[in-house]
Point group: C2
Chain length 176, copies 2
Amino acid sequence: MTNAMIQNGPVRILGLDPGLRRTGWGVIVSEGSRLRWIAHGVVAPDERAPFAERLLHLLEAVGEICASHGCEEAAIEEVFVNVNPASTLKLGHARAAVMLAPARCGLPVSEYSPNLIKKAVVGAGHADKGQIAFMVKRLMPASGEVKADAADALAVAITHAQLRKRTLLENLRGAA
Amino acid sequence: MTNAMIQNGPVRILGLDPGLRRTGWGVIVSEGSRLRWIAHGVVAPDERAPFAERLLHLLEAVGEICASHGCEEAAIEEVFVNVNPASTLKLGHARAAVMLAPARCGLPVSEYSPNLIKKAVVGAGHADKGQIAFMVKRLMPASGEVKADAADALAVAITHAQLRKRTLLENLRGAA
């Protein structure tokens, strides 16, 4: 990807909030300073299935969302290192499965820290989940009521819409 | 998969030792009490590429190995939780990408702890890497000299050859 290849027209963004039990997703269109809600939801693999199958469910379900909504760029939340190392390891697995879905479709995948997302959406780095859901609904009233996982995913997509050119150029330099 | 579907004839096993920088792999055939070496190697994604692309490299390279060698079952090392939580998180990502490759091809993926692998291959839970490489060469002279990552991967495959019926039945019960 080169600078010239970073779109200036409307772009369809997939936001992802990864988790092994519940992965939130949200699709928006960003055009200039306007944001438009397209869809959102949650992927929840069967907790009784073998571990590899739960990861496969995440990969395939997010891949289908990506394709069916014609997403062009993806953004995912960076995750906190949990106090429990075993939980950190599991979350790492889930996040990889979720990231790989857009990567397989050839989409650039940008990463944003929770604090950056809160600042971008609410204006404060220490906002709680309720404030994020409130602002997501404010920015995109068509979304209706959005539960926490999906609201966080839409917030990642909104953050990417605001910061995408800078982020994509940084990734480009990182890979050069 | 049912009990009747667990093969009694020769089975081609892919063993995996996951890592973001280097993932070892080894393919063996197990028939009765006999083991036959087929191939081994290491996948090492470009460290300068964006994170999602490094994971994608692991997924695709292991997927190609799986398909080109006609593997029927896969086995992967369980990983230790690192003292550094950020490293644990990264290793979780890499391991998921590596596990997803055989899972996507419909292969059952079994998991074994490092201690179990050492006991199965060397006979002692506290063997070092040198002893594992030595025993792998002993059990499968056709492999020639094998470096550490690939020797560990072959050791996982050997462990699975010894324990597969028990493990596959346990997975079956877990998913029921």
